[in-house]
């Protein structure tokens, strides 16, 4: 035991011990409020262990006494579980006020006919807000977030050309059943000159200025069994919706990027490439993946993108 130094003014109290003669330790006790706050956290922890999931026990853990979160799991079974935020989120997504309101409106839209939806501004707004998400999740990877498509690969849904029909019922069946877009490759059928003639004729259909003689030769190939193009594209070149054959007389090109070219040679080159290589496109069917109501919402959404028919 060392000597206890008298408390001199301005000095901090020491613990009263001295080691090796002169080594002392300051005594700076924790403030009482701090100590009590610490005790309070201990009590809090004890209460928490009882109420909430807390301790790992072997391969499992203590679940807490609150076993009161009920929700419907992905298999449609009603599950009641201990407190956890994941279940809380699922429950909120199913029973929350917004979820209820959204479900009510969804039922309303599901029960309504297409013409009823198209004539009701509020239902249209609801459809757009829900279908925008559906479109983004399911359709946008190919067709683009705004339905603008990719020239040469995926059709533009925002314009007014509809390969498979732009009426509501056409769009619904397209989404539900999918489509196989096919044009044979003609590289073995036509020689280079014939390809050039055909391309000239096809471009003339939509008002491009081409060599008249070549176009006339191409027309014969197009409209007779020599080329057979008219089987699908019709003699007038306006296309056939049942085959998904494009209308060649309008200004829209979904495979050959004609609008993106400035001179005739490039345009012809791009059309010839399509004729010689053919087209093979596939849109999957969505009836297995999406519900009837979801398809309905998407139908209205896609219909509205370009103005529909």
């Amino acid at each position: 035991m060392g000597d206890t130094k008298a408390k001199s003014s301005g000095a901090v109290q020491t613990t009263g011990h001295a080691w090796d003669g002169d080594i002392q330790e300051f005594n700076n006790p924790l403030p009482n409020w701090w100590l009590w706050a610490f005790y309070a956290t201990v009590v809090f922890a004890l209460v928490y262990w009882v109420l909430y999931p807390a301790w790992p026990v072997g391969g499992t853990f203590t679940k807490g006494v609150m076993n009161d979160i009920t929700f419907v799991d992905s298999d449609g079974k009603k599950v009641t579980t201990h407190w956890n935020t994941r279940a809380l989120l699922l429950k909120d997504l199913q029973d929350g006020k917004e979820a209820r309101l959204s479900r009510e409106y969804m039922d309303k839209v599901a029960a309504a006919g297409y013409s009823e939806i198209l004539g009701d501004a509020e239902m249209m707004a609801f459809t757009r807000s829900v279908a925008k998400g559906l479109f983004g999740d399911n359709c946008a990877p190919c067709h683009g977030s705004g339905g603008q498509g990719v020239i040469g690969l995926f059709p533009n849904l925002a314009d007014d050309a509809w390969l498979w029909g732009g009426r509501i019922e056409d769009i619904q069946s397209t989404i539900g059943q999918g489509h196989l877009g096919f044009m044979p490759a003609f590289r073995d059928t036509f020689n280079d000159k014939q390809l050039d003639d055909l391309a000239s004729y096809v471009l003339s259909l939509s008002g491009n200025k081409v060599d008249e003689a070549a176009s006339a030769r191409g027309k014969i190939l197009f409209q007779t069994d020599a080329g057979g193009c008219y089987y699908c594209h019709t003699k007038a070149g306006t296309g056939l919706k049942s085959q998904g054959a494009a209308n060649l007389t309008d200004q829209i090109w979904t495979i050959a990027d004609v609008n993106g070219a400035t001179d005739l040679e490039t345009k012809k080159e791009r059309v010839e490439k399509v004729i010689s290589n053919g087209v093979q496109r596939q849109m999957p069917h969505w009836s297995d993946r999406l519900s009837a109501t979801q398809i309905k919402l998407l139908t209205v959404y896609v219909h509205e993108l370009g103005g529909g028919q």
Partner: protein
């Protein structure tokens, strides 16, 4: 650590036991308190007939993004009014403080109002100043525990009702209060109520004058608005102290004449002005940061002077200049400027509220894709029109456009649509236009929305831009 060498940064609170006082200013303050509490506690219960929306006179509906204020419905787009209101409040504070000092602190601040209420409860349960001091010093007995416990219980009840009332402004009050007590109210309702209960109890019951002295920023920045002409609560030292200073009433210094002959002032050093002070200062030491201008010391001294028959209160409203015998002005460039700006801001807000648009439209271009080429070679741009009906009647609207010669507008089957009262809708509009060789880039035009069969609601227009491909293909 209490070091004799250095001064401690922490000062323990010296308990203050404000004594009750009666008088002109106390009555005025009770009046303001009654009025303020009447408005605050009763307003959520006031019903209000509306064609659409809740029947509560004042309701801040966050979920629906609408604030209902009697006949006015504030929509999300009108929220800049709140900025205007805050600006007006700030200017009013500058204006009033420049002229009359801390009027807000002394008469209107909720800290002052609730502290007054808490002091009233304390006095009714424990008695006045002297009794309270004695009770605090007395050992803990059942009686003391009962009195102290009852005080805190009543405080908590007052705090709870304050918090609950605040919560009632944010939802339908009669329904919310039932939900609250049956455990069905939203979490936010419980959190808000309990938080405000806690803050009210702590601030008005325990912290009191420390809020004004240490926490409140307004208290600090109001002092920079003071000048020599500002009305302040001040002690008339010339009259109170005389040439020989103040003195208690003694046999030799009993009448005013006796005192004046000996050069002693009118202040009999009774200490009443100090005892009534809610912030525990002695006003006779001059203007101090703690003073909230509550004027209770004026009442205290007036009571004493009146009972002695020596005239007016020694503590009074004056200004530094006036106290020094100089002329004091209220209307100076500073106050006039504040007044004008205040008037301008209030008029602007009033005009804006009075001219709330009954119908609003905003247009957002759909940019993905920005434009589309159609089969006939025309270009199509899509827009989303956001229409909002702020009236209590449904509006039948016709959507039109102008400014693009020959353009076609397509809104599907919604060219004429009905917009329900107090509702907003989004409508997609497609505009098709022949692309011209001489026009590239973009062109401005307008969407018009025309209310049908309504004279009182005018046409609303919104500008939009039509984009053309940069290169003619």
């Amino acid at each position: 650590m209490s070091d004799a060498g250095t001064e401690s940064l922490y000062q323990a609170r010296i308990p203050i036991y404000p004594r009750s006082v009666k008088g002109r200013f106390r009555n005025l303050k009770w009046g303001i308190l009654g009025l303020a509490y009447g408005v605050y506690f009763l307003l959520p219960w006031l019903r209000w007939e509306r064609n659409v929306g809740p029947d509560q006179a004042v309701l801040f509906d966050i979920a629906a993004r609408k604030f209902y204020l009697f006949g006015l419905v504030v929509h999300a787009q009108d929220l800049f009014w709140l900025a205007g209101l805050l600006m007006i409040a700030a200017l009013l504070l500058f204006f009033v403080t420049g002229i009359a000092g801390r009027v807000f602190c002394g008469y209107f601040c909720f800290q002052t109002l609730w502290t007054d209420l808490y002091l009233l409860i304390e006095r009714l349960v424990q008695g006045d100043r002297v009794t309270r001091i004695r009770l605090d010093k007395a050992p803990w007995t059942a009686g003391k525990m009962m009195r102290k416990g009852l005080t805190h219980l009543l405080w908590l009840l007052a705090a709870f009702w304050t918090g609950l009332t605040f919560t009632l402004y944010w939802d339908n009050a009669p329904q919310l209060i039932v939900d609250w007590f049956t455990g069905r109210a939203p979490f936010a309702a419980y959190a808000t109520t309990l938080f405000l209960t806690a803050t009210t109890y702590v601030m008005a019951g325990l912290a009191r004058e420390q809020v004004c002295t240490y926490m409140c920023p307004y208290a600090r920045f109001q002092s920079v608005m003071f000048d020599a002409d500002t009305r302040i609560v001040a002690y008339d030292a010339a009259r109170g102290e005389g040439s020989q200073g103040r003195h208690k009433v003694t046999r030799e210094l009993k009448s005013q004449e006796q005192r004046h002959q000996q050069g002693v002032g009118d202040c009999i050093d009774c200490g009443y002005c100090v005892q009534v002070c809610p912030t525990g200062i002695d006003i006779r030491n001059g203007l101090q940061v703690q003073c909230i201008s509550c004027a209770l010391c004026i009442d205290a001294c007036a009571t004493i002077m009146q009972s002695l028959g020596w005239g007016k209160s020694l503590v009074r409203y004056t200004s530094e200049k006036q106290a020094a015998g100089e002329p004091s002005r209220i209307w100076k460039p500073k106050t006039v400027a504040y007044g004008l700006v205040l008037l301008a801001a209030a008029s602007a807000l009033g005009w804006s509220v009075g001219h709330q648009a009954p119908l609003e439209m905003s247009v957002v271009q759909m940019r993905q894709p920005l434009f589309v080429r159609l089969s006939d070679g025309r270009i199509q741009n899509n827009y989303e029109l956001h229409l909002e009906n702020k009236t209590d009647e449904p509006l039948r609207l016709a959507i039109m456009m102008r400014g693009l010669a020959g353009a076609e507008l397509d809104v599907g089957r919604l060219a004429s649509l009905e917009l329900p009262p107090q509702r907003s809708l989004r409508v997609v509009a497609r505009v098709r236009w022949q692309s011209h060789h001489d026009i590239k880039g973009s062109r401005s035009f307008f969407f018009d929305v025309i209310p049908q069969r309504r004279r009182d609601v005018g046409m609303v227009s919104a500008p939009a831009t039509f984009y053309l491909p940069g290169r003619e293909g």
